[in-house]
């Protein structure tokens, strides 16, 4: 992705939900995007799939998959890219499954609309394989979504997402609203299928602990901008942005018993961003330059980019 920008038109003016986001993703790599609500990470994920609805619009930039700029494709071509090349695993709290269709039918309609021609028995077989690969029994196929638990529904969504062997899987907060035990199950399933497919994963979330366990690199977003991209271990040991450090510090830990530390202040309204660095009002290390000049995301070390004047 290069310089992707997404605008939302509100009655009070255009708002930049995502501002010149650039990153690259290698095959088989796991990239996490962390940030608070409203940081623009979900917007970016939807933008990759070109699913930004009015009043939002994609306002520039490129998204290249295997050399093809997705933003330049026609509607029908983009439709075929979805699921077949890039698949979405929706948020755990969404009711992403059609309540009046059986799981089997919801898997099959995706296959069918992407051109697969199968007999009834072949279809059943394929559905069974997919469900097995995510750890669900074959009886799930005939069930309706309301008959499944949260974890099962999420794994069914994973099954749908991998049904056409995509190259990229975008997981948008796949485990929010699930309890910890089920979270682990779902993430393990995700890890396993990713390895089988040799696909790349973009994991969007706000749980840094989850990121630490799963991804190779982490990108941190704040107020619609990408402020840091580093290897996961280095994010924790030598992070390049004060916001990242504070995010990590706010994680409850088994060692530091005591008070929780949060990040003082609130996220700025996207239409009312402070001048200079968007984080400076809440940053304990801000200097004069931070108030006037917006920092640019630049390479500070191999595999480490940061957008801060102090780096």
């Amino acid at each position: 992705m290069r310089d992707l920008t997404v605008h939302y038109d509100t009655p009070l003016g255009a708002v930049r939900a995502a501002d010149r986001i650039s990153f690259s993703l290698c095959a088989g790599e796991r990239l996490g995007f962390a940030g608070e609500s409203g940081s623009g990470k979900s917007t970016m994920a939807l933008a990759i799939l070109r699913m930004i609805q009015p009043p939002g619009r994609i306002d520039g930039g490129q998204v290249r998959l295997d050399g093809v700029d997705l933003l330049s494709l026609g509607d029908e071509e983009m439709r075929r890219v979805r699921l077949a090349r890039i698949a979405l695993i929706p948020q755990g709290s969404m009711n992403a499954l059609n309540p009046v269709m059986r799981i089997r039918d919801q898997i099959m309609d995706a296959l069918r609309d992407h051109g697969a021609r199968m007999s009834r028995r072949e279809g059943d077989e394929r559905v069974r394989e997919l469900l097995e690969s995510v750890g669900l029994g074959r009886d799930v196929a005939e069930r309706f979504p309301h008959e499944l638990s949260g974890g099962m529904k999420q794994r069914a969504c994973i099954a749908i997402a991998i049904s056409l062997r995509p190259r990229v899987i975008i997981a948008d907060e796949p485990t929010s609203a699930l309890d910890v035990v089920v979270q682990k199950q779902v993430m393990e399933t995700l890890a396993r299928v990713q390895k089988e497919l040799d696909a790349s994963v973009i994991l969007v979330g706000h749980d840094m602990g989850l990121m630490a366990q799963f991804v190779d690199r982490v990108g941190v977003m704040y107020a619609g901008k990408l402020v840091e991209v580093s290897l996961v271990r280095e994010i924790f040991t030598r992070s390049l942005h004060p916001y990242t450090r504070m995010l990590i510090a706010s994680l409850p830990s088994l060692e530091k018993k005591g008070t929780f530390s949060g990040i003082p202040g609130l996220i700025p309204l996207l239409r009312d961003l402070p001048p200079g660095c968007a984080f400076h009002p809440r940053c304990p290390e801000a200097v004069a330059r931070c108030r006037t000049e917006e920092p640019v995301l630049r390479e500070v070390r191999p595999d480490g980019r940061g957008a801060c004047h102090l780096v």
């Binding site: 699913m51 439709r79 929706p90 969404m94 992403a96 059609n98 309540p99 009046v100 309609d109 995706a110």
Partner: protein, 334 residues
């Protein structure tokens, strides 16, 4: 078990019937008027023609209802008769029995009401769904305002206007009645065609107004449905827009629409009654109208009771069908 729910709904139905019957029994008596005596007094005053069988009728009436018997006994015998659908004789049209007159009128009403309701529901729902589809042709947008405006007016108003425009001025259709006077009822082509011709205007009054309502409601449901998470995921799955439209949006929006149908039946019926009156269409509405004019209490009560029971039945049937559409409703206690 599914039977549990059905049993409960049937119970509600019986309750409705019982309440209807009770209301029917007590309300007229509240005013202290005795319909039969009043009628007799009226006729005596006129000093003119008195029904030949009046004596027999009074004796019959006394025997049946025994106004000298205690109230609760009257009530019980009334209930017993009601269950057998025996509503006594029509005061104004003696010696015709009430259930005879109702039985004659019911087919007309069911024909008119049934076909128009189904037609306007189907048409309206279809139109409403189309209006919500981004892929719909532009000119459909212009259908909205007239449909909107039309559905706010009562059926019979449109009926009056239509009669004037199409039956009086242009004389395209007959002005009223169910069939031409002097025509012989039967299953001949000419008669059937005659009936249809007479039914077109009343049907149009209902359909033109009701379709708008259903279309608007369906469009609203579709818009809500389109905002649901599963539609977003369906798009992310790269489904064709037709698939999303039919199996994801339509299929889900139909559910509340059907519930709305069940709830609206009462209103549709009230409107249809007035339409029949305006058009002199020989259905329940016109019979009711004449009964009111002639103070024929038994006929009125019989009609009201029948209609309430019929509506209760229709609602019951719709309620029973609904679970077939929505798999989330399961009556199994898990």
């Amino acid at each position: 078990m599914r039977l549990d729910y059905l049993a409960r709904r049937c119970g509600v139905f019986v309750l409705i019937v019982w309440i209807a019957a009770t209301l029917n029994f007590f309300l007229p008596r509240l005013s202290g008027q005795d319909p039969v005596r009043t009628k007799l007094l009226q006729q005596a005053q006129l000093g003119g023609y008195v029904h030949a069988g009046i004596d027999a009728m009074v004796k019959d009436y006394d025997r049946r209802f025994g106004l000298d018997r205690p109230l609760w006994e009257q009530y019980l015998s009334y209930l017993r008769d009601a269950v057998r659908l025996d509503f006594n004789y029509s005061i104004a049209n003696y010696p015709r029995k009430v259930n005879e007159m109702i039985a004659e009128a019911v087919p007309w009403t069911i024909g008119l009401l049934g076909s128009t309701t189904l037609l306007s529901f189907a048409l309206g729902t279809f139109l409403g769904a189309l209006l919500a589809w981004p892929g719909a042709p532009r000119w459909m947008r212009y259908l909205m305002p007239p449909l909107w405006a039309l559905h706010a007016i009562p059926f019979f108003l449109l009926g009056l206007v239509l009669i004037y425009l199409l039956a009086f001025e242009i004389q395209l259709f007959p002005m009223f009645g169910g069939y031409s006077g002097g025509a012989f009822p039967g299953f001949t082509v000419t008669f059937v065609w005659d009936v249809i011709r007479h039914a077109i205007l009343p049907a149009m009054s209902i359909v033109l107004v009701a379709t708008g309502g259903w279309a608007l409601a369906m469009r609203g449901m579709m818009v809500t449905t389109q905002g649901e998470d599963y539609v977003t995921f369906a798009e992310a799955k790269g489904l064709r827009s037709l698939t999303i439209f039919t199996r994801y949006c339509l299929r889900n929006a139909i559910l509340p629409q059907t519930t709305a149908l069940a709830l609206a039946l009462g209103n549709i019926l009230s409107g249809a009654v007035l339409v029949e009156v305006i058009f002199g269409y020989p259905g329940i509405g016109t019979v009711l109208f004449h009964a009111i004019r002639e103070n024929d209490h038994f006929l009125i009560q019989g009609i009201v009771f029948t209609v309430i029971v019929a509506l209760g039945l229709a609602t019951l049937i719709l309620d029973a069908i609904y679970p077939l559409l929505d798999p989330r409703i399961n009556y199994r206690r898990t």
